[in-house]
Structure formats: structure tokens, C-alpha cells
């Protein structure tokens, strides 16, 4: 069970900011979220979206066996 956090436009698309999701890996988590909400799944796979597992950026797939928090971070912009 991982606590999933969404920020910025990802939160707006999903309609929620934080929830617990059962998934064994990051790929599983993406699939689970996409099945439930295709628009969110597409947004999470969008360019520039980064993933942090327990506050450390990861790229590609990763096990969620020991991770307690997964944050999806949209690209920064503005200035």
C-alpha cells in the first residue's frame, strides 16, 4: 500500500490530491490509476512529469514493496 500524492494540474485532473493505492510496483500503480481514470493515466505519463518515491526522484519502474509515499510532480514553469 502506497500513499499517492498529486500536485498542480495532476491534482486538478484527478480531482484528488492524496490517497492510498495498492500496487507492487510503480508500473502497477500507473496501470491501476489509468484503468480508473484514463485522463489521469495519460497526464502521469506526460513529458516532464517526475516521480518521487519517499521523496527521492526515480526514473523508470521501481518496486513499491518498501516505499510508503509516491509523489507525481508536474513540470515547473513560470518565473
Amino acid at each position: 500500500m502506497a500513499r499517492v500524492l498529486l500536485f498542480g494540474p495532476l491534482r486538478d485532473i484527478a480531482g484528488w490530491r492524496e490517497r492510498d493505492v495498492e500496487a507492487a510496483s510503480l508500473a502497477d500503480l500507473r496501470r491501476a490509476l489509468s484503468v480508473e481514470d484514463a485522463a489521469l493515466g495519460e497526464a502521469l505519463a506526460g513529458p516532464g512529469v517526475q516521480v518521487a518515491l519517499d521523496q527521492a526522484i526515480v526514473r523508470g519502474d521501481a518496486s513499491l514493496a518498501t516505499a510508503s509515499e509516491v509523489a507525481f510532480l508536474p513540470p515547473m514553469s513560470g518565473g
Binding site: 500536485f7 498542480g8 518521487a52 521523496q55 509523489a71 513560470g78
Partner: protein, 109 residues
Amino acid sequence: MSIRLTEQPFDPGALLSEFCRGRSEVGAVATFTGIARAEAGATTILELEAYPGFTEAEIGKIAEIARKRFGLADLSILQESGGSRRARRSSSSPQVRRAGARRSRPATS
């Protein structure tokens, strides 16, 4: 080195004064203060989300690069986040822009 987030508005001048206090072996202090643009009236509210813990750590990585690159003696970074509270205080149909933030980063060398 100090890196903090705040949801409260702050006075960059006061931060600078506090940062300079008691420093007798520093030759200069450089500052950067970001402010929100109104975009010709199109933007009335600025909302900036932070990921507590992660945000400070990421800012810290950038600060450490700057410290080494410019030979800084010290750094103080205060980043404002939030905005929804201010949004409720403003007009009934605010335009929200999630970009930029008020920030102040004094650095000594």
C-alpha cells in the same frame, strides 16, 4: 545555510537585515527577490504548491551548487508557498496562476 518554506507573506528587507546582522567578515551580500507579475490584470492570485521536505531538499541541492560555484560564505533562502488562503480573500472570480513565487535569497561572498 538556511532553507525554509513559509505560507505567510514576509518582508524581504527585514530578512536581509537579519541576515546581515553581526557579520563583520563579509564584503558583500547579494539578494534575489521574486515577485508575482499581474500579467496586465489577467492574474490576481498566485498559488504555489510545495512538497514539504522534498522541496527544501531540492532547493538545497541548487543552493549547494551555487555555494561552491560562487564561493559563498552563507545562504538564506525563504520560499513562499500556498495561496489558496489568499485566493479566498480576493475577488470572487480570481485567475489563478501556479507559477513563480515570492522568494528572497540573500547570499554572502
